[in-house]
Symmetry: C2
Subunit: 471 residues, 2 copies
């Protein structure tokens, strides 16, 4: 997935002010301020086809006060400031198209407190989801949001991430109770208290979730936790067609079955997973499902789901009753991206996603598959289909301009299709640079103007992650 750092151009410098900022900060930060080319390029986009646009310097901060110090210096000289967690965002959120200072938050990685009675915890933004779940395990708790990468929680909040558990547990918008952030003026705000609900004024928490660092830098998060379920069961079920699988999903959701995960892999993705993860699944459209609850309730949910699946021709249901079998299946699901790569050796795999109302899911997936076929593309489909959300992993030969152009056209067509069906251009990857061009079509100009007004109000000199989200 990585291309060589040396191949890429260095990003343009952040104007004359940036050297003054670097000079001003270096006394305090010493070796924690880095300007080497390799480290700067590691702090820009490396995972997709978007060009690597490196910042002028990287500062490894260790506290909210240090974030304030950097932001204040940047504000004084009108220099861009970009938050960096683990660098796993997919739409160029961490790129520095106008140069500037990357604030690396990975050293702010302490779990500050866990409140088991309240099912919440407070963490610094550099804590990753796996680190948090390790920390919580002994308390019988977990944090359910699981994007593919072991992303930082600050980054996950900033891109409004979700994952396979969202159908039951919601997305980051539903699981961040409060956060603190440093604004462009250097002030620290706390968006809410630790109470489970409140109607005390504007919901700044939700405004910052998904804002991709364009309104401020998140320096702590209060997160909602869930109890580790008493019982878990799951398995896989093959369907004759993608539409049949989607119809089974719709009925499952409609009947109120509290399913924890319901993931679609099309036959191309199943074939890839069989090869990569040494599975022997039938190479048909397949649902991976999981149920959480008590023993009795998990048993009942499994039975009900089997009945629904059977109605739509779902056959050969295979239960993974042993935890190790379940882990193997879900590991394969999480490795879907990597499994795609050998399908077209030397190609880059470009993950993109859309999300449509559930009633249009089968149409959208069907038409997308037809497009893949007609365009002669290789693009397996995986999806968090309980939410109407699916991904294509397009395999592109980056050295072939025709192949690249075709892939771009394919993604543009998929987004247009989603919008025409009442869907969104991005279900869970955010906007970044990659999807800015679709925001006008998605929101309309009056709504974008309102977003711009808010951005202008909180960041009048456009120093917070400029060039992202808003076209």
């Amino acid at each position: 997935m990585e291309t060589s750092v040396e191949e890429r151009p260095v990003a343009p410098a952040g104007g004359a002010g940036v050297q003054q900022v670097i000079a001003a900060l270096s006394a305090h930060f010493g070796e924690r301020l880095a300007t080497g080319r390799a480290i700067r390029e590691q702090h820009a986009n490396t995972v997709t086809w978007l060009a690597n646009e490196a910042p002028d310097a990287v500062v490894f901060v260790e506290s909210t006060e240090e974030v304030q110090r950097v932001v204040r210096a940047c504000a004084q000289h009108r220099v861009p400031v970009i938050a960096f967690g683990t660098g796993s965002s997919l739409e160029g959120q961490i790129n520095a198209p106008k140069g500037g200072i990357s604030i690396d938050l990975s050293r702010m990685n302490r779990v500050l407190s866990v409140h088991p009675e309240d099912l919440d915890c407070v963490v610094e933004p550099g804590v990753t989801r796996k680190q948090l779940n390790e920390h919580l395990r002994d308390a019988g708790l977990f944090f359910p949001i699981d994007p593919g990468a072991d992303a930082s929680l600050g980054g996950m909040a900033s891109t409004r991430a979700s994952g396979t558990n969202a159908v039951r547990y919601g997305t980051m918008k539903d699981n961040v109770i409060a956060l603190t952030a440093v604004l462009a003026n250097g002030e620290v705000i706390t968006t809410a208290r630790r109470a489970k609900k409140s109607s005390a004024g504007y919901d700044l928490t939700r405004l910052f979730v998904g804002a991709e660092g364009t309104l401020g830098i998140i320096t702590s998060l209060t997160l909602r936790l869930a109890g580790i379920p008493e019982a878990i069961s799951g398995g896989v079920c093959a369907f004759p067609t993608v539409r049949a699988a989607c119809d089974a999903v719709i009925l499952t959701i409609q009947t109120g079955l509290p399913i924890a995960r319901i993931e679609l892999l099309d036959e191309v993705q199943v074939r890839a997973c069989n090869a990569y993860s040494k599975l022997d699944l039938a190479e048909q459209p397949t649902l991976f499902v999981e149920f959480h609850g008590t023993e009795a309730s998990v048993h009942e949910q499994s039975e009900r789901f089997s009945e629904i699946a059977a109605e739509y021709g779902g056959g050969g249901f295979r239960w993974a009753t042993r935890p190790e079998d379940r882990t193997r299946l879900w590991q394969a699901r999480h490795d879907a991206y990597w499994a795609c790569l050998p399908l077209k050796p030397g190609a880059k795999a470009l993950a993109t996603d859309v999300c449509v109302p559930l009633s249009r899911l089968a149409d959208c997936v069907d038409e997308t598959k037809r497009d893949i076929e007609e365009m002669g593309m290789l693009a397996p489909i995986v999806g968090h289909v309980g939410d109407g959300n699916f991904h294509t992993v397009t395999l592109v030969d980056m050295s072939d301009p025709h192949d690249v152009a075709k892939a771009k056209d394919f993604i543009a067509r998929m987004i247009k299709r989603s919008l025409a069906m009442g869907g969104t251009a991005t279900g869970e990857h955010g906007v970044g640079q990659g999807k800015r061009a679709y925001m006008e079509a998605e929101h309309g100009s009056a709504t974008l103007d309102a977003m711009r007004a808010i951005k202008q109000a909180l960041d009048p000199h456009d120093i917070m992650n400029p060039g992202k989200i808003l076209p």
Copy 2:
């Protein structure tokens, strides 16, 4: 709950511009523009001790375009504009302290579409929650948010309302998928698409939910629906102390029991309900609970809850197995407010609420009860305790300045207590005028400044419901 209209002063006029606005609008609206005193006063606060501050005129709109027409006229002359649904808000949200035009949205009461496959619907803001549930019943669906009053859905979104089902189904913030609103500049925005999730830019949906009409006027809402549960069971259980009841609540939530409702009534409230609703409950702190699911799961949940309750001395669990018994119990719960009135004949009942982290609930309720006793107040307690949220209904003799002052002091002390415990000044009633004074203590000045910047950006001349939320 009503006091005579004649007793109250007419609100100050909205400046010279208001007569020009009225003149400009009357040609279009004819008899749908009203300036009579009674109708104006009905469109200001009538339910609490906050003074009735009437608008200069009331316009009964029938479409988004008509809302735009009113807002544009008001913007031109810098005249305040206040949205009105059913008038059931509790913190003076509909008052017109600077005069202006009240936009009555009650005639925009059409259910525009229902999408059973997507579990959502689109409604105009004047649709009330009971009207919507009547409409949905045949489709096997319901909208779970249930504040005490039969409020309008636009009003419920604007105050970020919740109610007895929030512990399972969330609040308005979790159940509004998208909305359209008319901004102060007269433009119409649509905040999101109908997809279940999206990461496409700033979350304007959540920004408008809870904004109390200070950022724009909501003219349609896309709402998330739930399936009517296959089975429902519920009942009541008395506890030796409030603390024991709260501890049972904490364990219930912590074990992940998907309880649909869990409401606390203290012994004073139980006594009031016994008298008002002809019940014969033990006059002890009591939990009203309800479980939703399949027959088997509801049975299992009930058993588990009984075990938990027994651990904390909860005894004499009474199941309401027949639907009519359940309806009677929950009607009594919903009538709790009215049941309080006879406790102090001639008094006004002032409902207020706070919300604290669950771990502090018992402390907060205990200390509040001690305060009630020491201050010699009459103030039954009811609460959505699964969320850490509880209400006091303070009975006040409005003709006795000493009694009024004591009640104000009591409420101020309760809010201070909640804030000190990491809680909020308002769990579900909003801020309006009544709780503005506590926003500085709750949020701090930097956060309030950020809220003010957003308000200023979207409503530079402060015409949208001025004098609310922000101190």
